[in-house]
Amino acid sequence: MGHILLRHRDIPNFSQLDVYKKNGGLVAFKNAITAMKPEDVTNVVKASGLRGRGGAGFPTGTKWSFIDKNNWPHYVVVNADESEPGTFKDREIMEGNPFQMLEGVALCCYAVGANVAYIYLRGEFWQLAAALDENIAQLEEAGYLGDKLFGTEFSLRIHTHLGAGAYICGEESALLESLEGKRGQPRVRPPFPPSVGLYGKPTIVNNVETFANVQPILAKGADWYKTMGTADSAGVKIFSLSGSVKKPGNNELPLGTTFRDLIFNHGGGMLDNRRIKAIMPAGASSSMIIADDKALDTPMDYASVRTLGADLGSASIIVIDDTVSMEWVIGKTVHFFKHESCGKCTPCREGTYWMQNVINRLQNGRKKEDVDLLLNVAKQMQGKCLCALGEFATMAVTTGIERFPSDFKA
């Protein structure tokens, strides 16, 4: 079977508009705005079982149906801030298959009644933003973006907006603050963006990969989409595979593929044939999974990964081999989160700072009381932070110490 999201891997020059159109592109969008009611588009997405691909896994169609219809205008925002260590899938989609993502955005705008969409890209994707501007201009010229499209009353503009290096802007409310021209610090939620979002107006924020799924769902139908994946987690997912494997890279596979299949088949097995020790399925934010046979044979869908005491998140699988100490790993993850903490809420700002200090001390001479203190600080942060970043910062620390105690023995 060919790719559904990474179609550029099967079809040469797929990032060109004429090639995209020749292969079925933009039919779904034209059909939707000329022959479908907006709520019908949302209903198809709902029926497909598509869940958000940014990490939280919230049902996409349900989110769209939450848009407040008593408050206008509406906005759609693409979260292209891809910054989670271990995640590099959105970049490939936007580079290789930009029009499919843009068509998904356009479909969403029609479904929720938005006439303006913003694509918020991390600042490092500077060249990518320029290419997308070019793609958008081509769509305008071809009559797929602009005023009163295809003789309907529906008008649509899409703009890119570059961030400037801040992991926190991947958190949707921080992203909206940033897009409004402020420091990217999360808002207190609720209210959620479908009620109060960009400029205080109802807004749908979804990840790049989520939007890339929308066009095939509208083109081929919800029933077709549900034939892939599991009952709980429909469809395909891009698994970004990194760390100690022979062939790191993106792999588009049905949800429910096992860790073993991904790492040893698609990933070519372990680097230098070392032994696998741990898996972080959701990037640096992840809990550490002990990579035993049970874990390796677990299907990668949202519910099954939870049985291992972890979350699938954005499916950024970092593989760790047995030459690596967990103390070193959490040193890396905590360093990251301390740098990226936005400073707004105290548990995260102070907690990441102290975790870093205690880890530095541990690395200069391990003492049991410091391991206990580190665990204590991490647990004090849990459940108390304004957004998920603070929680994420503790996951590798607590599960690293609890699941790999010998790496922390004084």
């Binding site: 995640t87 590099f88 490092e124 060249q127 801040a166 420091r183 970004s240 760390g243 640096a284 890396k332």
Partner: protein, 168 residues
Amino acid sequence: MSLAEKYPKEVKNILSKYPVEFKRSAVMPLLYLAQRENGYVTKSAMSDIAQLLDITDTEVASVVGFYTLYHDRQEGKYRMQVCADLPCALRGADKFIESLCVNLGIKVGETTGDGLVTVESVMCLAACDKAPMFQIQSRDGIVYHENMTVDKTLELVQALKMSAQEVK
């Protein structure tokens, strides 16, 4: 000359993306525009932007301070920003950056004697499968360099040196 006088077309284009009553949204793209000139944002450029958007200089400065890709002082002409986060580190990024710095005779965060290259250790750049890797930020924007070795990087530095001399 103010930013709006220097780049009238660009400023107009940027402002046209956002609703007039929310023009503050333009602060980030305007800062990138201002940074083109010197590789960092000057105090007077921050004031220009504040005036354009009807916000205070302090509000503009707080945005500059929050995001890592804006700079308020001069460093090397090319900022070599190496990712040393967990996935890259599992593929040798720490050794790469250490050896690179030894070869360039500087420490992480420092600039080569000729003012050309600053080596920085940065957070994840979404290229975990192509480590070791870095981006080079300069007045011309940001360019990725992936699957790098120390030798290839030193060649690149040499090439940057040559082109800098030609410009002189």
